[in-house]
């Protein structure tokens, strides 16, 4: 993975010094809260319901064991012993004191981490595929390009005061685990001229109040043009994005207003000028230098079959269940991709205690070349595990309550913090997730249901990605009472779709029953091999509306 050189180190250190100065000026009253707010946001510091919240960047979701150890230490020393992994592959702490944050940033800098631009109207963390470098069929490791974009977008002098936040996602193959079509700019690495990496660039995707699927604006843009092309998009947005209405300020609104064709025309016109100038320049040597950090780890030469794995699975049903859902195929013989679920039944989706973080870090060092990935679905991945080692890994995870065998099953939810933590929320989301998970706890039943992605948001900002849930749940406030609205058929992958709202909302007491009704309907009408999302694509919402609202 990427390692800082002297330049990266110095920039992060100087940023901490700058922020320390800003905090001092705030505490001394030299600047008001209004003036301080955008500055603290650009260092990841929010003010939430109970306390400040600090969002630490995990660039494209990749981190080392020692970085994970430090995240654990920060939770212990400065917070309340846990952290929350987010849908942008970052980590959030819910209880830091403002006065401690410069010290936290110092600690982070010591392990090449930071909280730069994790909030504010600037370019945010570039997210990517959690199976990068491990999945078969990848055109190129998307993290190479994510790192390039990260550097280019850090403290960009022209694009630090955008109309609104700006989110990039990059995937390295057509199979999309990074939800690129729901980002402000989503990039797919494709084969360009002479099979060199090139980029399909989607613009204007997003969720929030007005979910939209991104439009393909640039096709097979060559690597040498990537930065110039992105600068062009950013300039068109910075100059023309709406500044009068916070809720209409994302680039998706601009693309929608202009139309994709006109947007493309403006970007390409700007691109011609930017290329002419020749100032924006991505040296080949820099691409090569960054690429070297993502070289394959020192794999052993192994047979693809592992008798140790097969025997362990035969001997231990619990382990076999875990392998069935949580282990994915690796491109190298004898290796596997292990998914660590942070969705224990009855737990808080995406949370990990400091102890658990230490365990994951140790297991990564021992079994996965000291590297972990955070997924946008709020789980963790150890991407390069020998099949021979899977049983030992699982045992280590089990001991730390990290072995929940539910990846992509109905108890593996994306959940925003909701009204339990967030100042923007209208309803609580976590208890709803817990109720549903408890209702469907039976593992056999979960397997019978199969892949079913439930995504829960506590308000219309959709941080829980409910628009792209196979089942999406949106918490609303009706006259002071929390209600939950269900949508079906959303999907964040390359078959991008926005869920359809089914009908009137349900109370907290009714919601788990409602989900059961939907699931039973699916079981009754599905055809051989159909996942929930496939059945929905075939039959649409009517059968589900019927059963759900028949008795109401």
């Amino acid at each position: 993975m990427y390692r800082y050189d002297e330049f990266d180190h110095r920039l992060v250190k100087e940023r901490v010094t700058q922020f320390r100065g800003q905090v001092e000026r705030r505490l001394a009253g030299d600047i008001t809260e209004d003036q301080f707010k955008p500055l603290r946001l650009m260092n990841g510091v929010y003010l939430q319901l109970h306390a400040y919240m600090l969002r630490v960047a995990v660039p494209y979701g990749t981190l080392s064991g020692s970085q994970m150890h430090m995240l654990a230490d920060i939770a212990t020393k400065y917070d309340k012993g846990y952290g929350h992994f987010t849908t942008r592959q970052n980590i959030q702490y819910n209880w830091p004191a403002l006065s401690d944050i410069p010290a936290i940033l110092d600690d982070l800098a010591s392990v090449e981490m930071h909280a730069i631009q994790t909030s504010g109207n600037c370019i945010r963390n570039v997210t990517s595929d959690q199976y990068a470098g491990a999945a078969a069929g990848e055109v190129d490791d998307p993290r190479i390009w994510s790192e390039i974009i990260r550097q280019w977008s850090t403290f960009h002098p022209e694009f630090t005061f955008l109309p609104r936040k700006f989110k990039f996602a990059v995937c390295g193959m057509n199979e999309d685990r990074a939800a690129i079509r729901f980002h402000d700019i989503g990039i797919e690495v494709v084969k360009g001229k002479d099979d060199a990496p090139a980029f399909d660039i989607y613009v204007g995707g997003g969720q929030g109040r007005t979910p939209m699927i991104g439009h393909l604006i640039g096709a097979a843009v060559p690597a040498v043009d990537l930065i110039a092309y992105l600068e062009s998009i950013m300039r068109v947005y910075n100059m023309n994005g709406r500044r009068d209405n916070l809720y209409k300020a994302r680039i998706k609104i601009l693309v929608h207003a202009l139309g994709a064709e006109e947007m493309k025309r403006q970007v390409e016109e700007e691109f011609v000028h930017v290329k002419e100038k020749g100032v924006v320049h991505l040296p080949e040597e820099e691409i090569a230098r960054i690429r070297a950090y993502f070289a394959p780890p020192a794999y052993e030469t192994l047979p693809d079959e592992s008798s140790a794995l097969n025997e362990a699975m035969a001997d231990n049903k619990k382990f076999a269940d875990w392998v069935k859902t949580n282990v994915a195929e690796h491109k190298v013989d004898g290796y596997a991709i292990a998914n660590v679920s942070l969705k224990p039944i009855g737990g808080v989706a995406g949370d990990a205690s400091d102890d658990q973080m230490h365990v994951m870090a140790d297991l990564a060092a021992q079994y996965s070349f000291d590297e972990l990935r955070v997924t946008h679905e709020q789980n963790i991945v150890l991407a390069h595990v020998k099949k021979d080692d899977l049983f030992a890994l699982w045992q280590g995870l089990e001991k730390a309550a990290l072995g929940t065998p539910n990846l992509a099953l109905i108890t593996d939810h994306i959940v925003c913090p909701g009204l339990d933590y967030c100042a923007l929320a209208n309803a609580r989301s976590i208890p709803i997730s817990q109720e549903i998970a408890e209702r469907f706890n039976d593992l056999d039943r979960q397997h019978n249901i199969g892949e079913l992605k439930v995504k829960i948001s506590g308000c219309i900002n959709a941080c829980g990605h409910h628009h792209v849930g196979h089942i999406g749940i949106l918490g609303v406030d009706k006259k002071g009472t929390e209600f939950y609205q269900i949508s079906l058929g959303g999907s964040a992958d390359e078959n991008a779709s926005i869920g359809d709202i089914l009908g009137p909302a349900f109370t907290e007491d009714e919601i788990a029953d409602a989900i059961e009704t939907i699931v039973e309907t699916y079981i009754n009408i599905r055809q051989e091999g159909e996942r929930f999302i496939d059945t929905y694509a075939r039959v649409g919402k009517e059968p589900f509306k019927e059963t759900l609202y028949a008795t109401h």
Partner: protein, 163 residues
């Protein structure tokens, strides 16, 4: 308002003239883009330096053809969060080759100065009581930059590879 130009406090010889005000004869004046377009010939005919003030929403393309007539372009920031002016300055310098004064006016935070300088601003209206040390300090906060702008400063990518 005090003026910082090229990193030092400077006397401000320019007068901002409202759309309906009389134009003083021998004084450097700054007019709105609207007035520039309405009274272009009369303004060019004057024997004194001329500047145009761009509001947020008035991209420099509006005056691009006339930049050789102007000695100053002021870019207004109605709110510090409104970052359109960063692009305007960049375009003035890089796209249109303007080498007169580009001045940031309106609500500008100390923490924006170094970014603005990189985008091509060389003059700043600042709050009363601003110390020049603060300006120098702000500009010196970061030793290196990742991005190329028209200021010619070598980027980290260039420094890494001797570019």
């Amino acid at each position: 308002m005090p003026l910082i130009k090229n990193g030092k406090f400077a006397d401000d010889n320019w007068v901002l003239v409202g759309d309906d005000d009389e134009l003083p004869t021998d004084t450097p004046v700054i007019v709105s883009a609207a007035r520039w377009q309405a009274e272009r010939d009369a303004l060019i005919g004057r024997n004194a330096p001329l500047g145009v003030k761009l509001e947020a929403g008035e991209a420099p393309e509006l005056i691009a053809d006339d930049l050789d007539r102007l000695q100053l372009v002021a870019v207004n920031f109605p709110a510090f969060k409104d970052g359109r002016g960063f692009s305007y300055a960049s375009l003035l310098r890089d796209r249109y080759g303007f080498d007169g004064e580009v001045r940031a006016v309106g609500e500008v935070l100390r923490d924006q100065w170094s970014l603005m300088v990189r985008c091509g601003f060389d003059a700043f209206d600042v709050a009363d009581g601003t110390k020049i040390d603060a300006f120098q300090e702000a500009l010196g906060e970061f030793s290196h930059v990742y991005q190329a702008t028209g200021d010619g400063k070598k980027t980290v990518w260039q420094l890494r590879h001797g570019g």
